[in-house]
Symmetry: C2
Subunit: 526 residues, 2 copies
């Protein structure tokens, strides 16, 4: 392994500034543990001076028992005219009780005069005094030089003076921040090299970038190549505006390709699952195309690409999906070559010896349903049923005769909300009618269906729905079509099914029926 | 304006290879027109040899009357052992009837032997003959050198020979493809400069990158800086695996910051709306953090950032949102400084003179609802009602007493599906009970509510719902919570409302009630 890079993840601080992210204290503790398990060196966890929730986090975080990571609190230098010892915000930073503190200060003269409304000299005094005070209290200080690159472009001497003030006062790291996300790798590279040559002997130089020009990762790498050895970002790229540098991508690039050591080598395999876990806790859907860790990062659809990867994986893959804990996927769609569809059919029906005509029948049915709004890429269970229903005389396990769903809401003296589903099915020549209450229509239907069928198939009790997604297709208000995706498990297997309709109840119902059908089918095959 | 860059958009070809994208012919025509209106130079529209839908597209596209763009068909060099004139795939390329053809060939020896299974010399023959044949038929040929950079890294002489074969045969552009997305800007830069020095006098050198290492944009810019003057990508970044270079970002960077001319200067303002339109037609949700054009690209949430931007916009913005047709947003959340909430309150209640205590009341209510799963960042209408309900004795326009919703589905002899909503409301001391049928539960409730209220408020007839989104919060199968967002318009205004519940009907209902309430409120204020 090559040179070490200290990774600081700021999902819990800068990431929390992204739209639609709002962490509870429990969320923060969970993400902190996940980052630690991945092997991140520093978790920047919040600003105790601006946020009561963050204060509560710091008081609970000591119980986490982290193995790799130290936790850092985040705050600003003291205010103009105040000594750090008299600044309540600095006091709260110390109260957080972390060994490490990330302290942000101004490095752009324009910000000093227009935003801070103070003098150049006073800003340098604030930086030096604040760092020195925290160091004297036994803290390791990471100094974030805000807008360093804008400052360096307009007045390099002043930007450098800000960084040197922090270095002289004992900062362990001076981190150069590309706060507005507007710079190019060439700018980053030259300025970083200059800082490294000035203060690099006394402290580590760091880099912190944003993605407003789509260059956060490139800028981070440019800084590392120029001598930076501390990298800030967020594991899933969350952050203000267009987000911070995506650490999953940065770690992949630096460690897998350039030979730097960012996290313990064995932990690279945890990269994909950790990013997905952080996104799930944050309740933010992860773009499928995220480098290395996205659901589509190793998904092949074009016929030529699928054939190529089948012959030699590296023909269309830059790294192996396993190296980062991701996996390869071949997507089935109207664009899939017939050989891909044949492969999928053979996986479902191992004895399949059908010719072109039968494959063409499946492809035709696939296209028909895709035209209606179906997608089978994320619905392996429904795809299996499609194949079986198309190719062989398929005998369903049960038939639905009808259902009736009643939702009532009354307000006033006796507030009441209830949903009842009545359902009638036929299976093995017998009819069954039953009813159930549920929390909302889909839940009520789910319960009623299982209640009716468990008489025939007791093993249905093992099965439960684990995810439910609704996607509005071509929005035309409340009469638009919806696609419902359901994920189910019976503890051994996980499968996905899909339903489409202009009525959300019907779409859910179709996916629900497929889900139960898959369970019954697999139990019979076992 | 500086030097001209020819932009080729391949959303309709490489973009269509992304998971979950499936274009109809009508979608393709619509996207083609949108790209033309933006001022893209070449629209690579499909592969007539592999896809019957693409053949239909080419036959219809001649009627589009494009003003800026030419359409290009895409295909491969002839097959080993065949003359181009005898290759049916090449014949189909010519049949597409476009003035320009994009022809892909191999530049990586490894691919020649392992995937094509032919000799190095035969591959060069295929490239030269195919380009020459198409040129002799009057076509402008863009030669895509697939895997050029992998080829150049392992055998620079052969990669260069492939490119030179195309150039000698009359290709107008030789486009260097970073097909696997695994390279760094330094690699791209050096190899591109070498190609420019070799063939740059006779033809234009182009660049085509993928984002598997998060470097597609940086690699594109590196190539342009090394002399490339033709850039391929997709406007919204769609494409195989992690996607192609995002052209919206590339155009923003090259044209706004580096002074190149990619599209007509006046059209930069169309960038945001065009990307969103392409995404909507593609039915792919656009990541909010997309540089320049994302919904969050100029959204400020952190208190310090909001205060800074309020003082001087460029303090936290790399370019002005208006320059690309986007807009600035201040997000309201528990992290918002009180001054931001006060601003929003004053915008709603211009006479607001309330003190800290009243602002704190609003913030407290906001936090309470956010804890329940609400988000007001995308629900200005519900936020306005929250403010009014919290700060003043708010008299609602109507009260719901109860509703009852019946959904029925029967299968068999008489297949039937219907949904009926019965609703009872009180307004101005009078009660009204009514019922309506609809296409699904939300549609039925919407119709019934309006029917009941139009007796009291005839102007409700002007209003309609234009979007409906369902977001599952913390998925726990069918009993998990859902957040419903509704967008409404009355032709003059657009507003958004939100509802949260474990029951999708109730969540929709809450958002629906708010939506109608906002309409009635604004009509009274007008």
């Amino acid at each position: 392994m090559g040179e070490k890079i200290e990774i600081l993840d700021t999902t819990l601080r800068d990431g929390a500034q992204a739209e639609s992210i709002s962490f509870t204290v429990r969320d923060k503790l969970e993400i902190c543990s996940a980052l630690d398990a991945l092997g991140v060196a520093v978790v920047e966890a919040g600003n105790p001076g601006s946020n009561p929730k963050d204060r509560e986090f710091f008081s609970q975080a000591t119980g986490l028992g982290l193995r790799h990571a130290v936790i850092s609190a985040f705050g600003s230098t003291c205010r103009p005219g105040l000594a750090p010892a008299d600044d309540p915000q600095i006091a709260e930073l110390l109260d957080a009780g972390t060994s490490t503190i990330c302290l942000v200060g101004k490095a752009w003269r324009f910000h000093v005069s227009e935003i801070l409304k103070t003098t150049d000299a006073e800003n340098l005094r604030m930086i030096g005094d604040s760092v020195a005070w925290l160091v004297s209290r036994g803290k390791r200080v990471i100094f974030d030089a805000e807008h360093f690159f804008n400052g360096f472009a307009s007045d390099p001497a002043y930007a450098m003076a800000a960084v040197e003030a922090a270095a002289r006062a004992g900062a362990s790291v001076v981190c150069l921040c590309e706060t507005n996300g507007g710079m190019f790798p060439e700018d980053i590279s030259a300025a970083t090299a200059e800082v490294v040559s000035r203060v690099g002997s006394g402290c580590v130089v760091g880099i912190h970038t944003h993605d407003d020009s789509g260059l956060a990762v490139a800028n981070t790498i440019a800084a590392v190549r120029a001598g930076a050895r501390h990298v800030q970002g967020t594991l899933a790229g969350f952050g203000e505006r267009c987000g911070n540098a995506n650490l999953a991508t940065v770690i992949g690039d630096l460690q897998l390709k350039l030979g730097y050591a960012c996290i313990p080598e064995d932990n690279l395999k945890l990269l994909t699952s950790t990013v997905r876990h952080v996104a799930a806790v944050s309740n933010v859907p992860l773009p499928g195309g995220l480098p290395y860790v996205g659901r589509r990062a190793f998904a092949h659809k074009g016929g030529m690409h699928m054939d190529g990867v089948r012959k030699v994986a590296r023909s269309f893959e830059h790294v192996s999906p396993e190296s980062v804990g991701n996996s390869r996927r071949f997507l089935i769609s109207e664009m899939s070559g017939k050989s891909a569809v044949t492969d999928r059919i053979t996986a479902i029906l191992p004895g399949f010896a059908g010719g072109e005509k039968e494959v063409a029948k499946v492809v035709a049915r696939l296209k028909e349903l895709e035209k209606d709004g179906y997608q089978f890429e994320g619905a392996d269970g429904s795809f299996e049923l499609l194949v079986r229903r198309t190719l062989s005389p398929y005998e369903p396990f049960f038939d639905l005769e009808r259902f009736r769903l009643v939702s009532e809401l009354s307000i006033g003296e006796r507030r009441d909300r209830n949903t009842t589903a009545m359902i009638k099915i036929a299976s093995a020549g017998r009819e069954e009618i039953t009813a159930a209450e549920g929390n909302g229509p889909v839940n009520a239907l789910d319960i009623a269906l299982r209640k009716a069928l468990e008489k025939f198939y007791p093993r249905l009790g093992e099965m439960r729905l684990t995810d439910f997604k609704v996607h509005v297709i071509a929005p035309e208000a409340t009469a638009s079509k919806v696609r419902v995706l359901i994920e189910s498990t019976d503890g051994r297997r996980i499968w996905n099914t899909v339903g489409v309709s202009s009525d959300i109840i019907e779409a859910s119902w179709i996916a629900l029926l497929d889900s139960v059908e898959v369970k019954l089918l697999h139990d019979r095959i076992d």
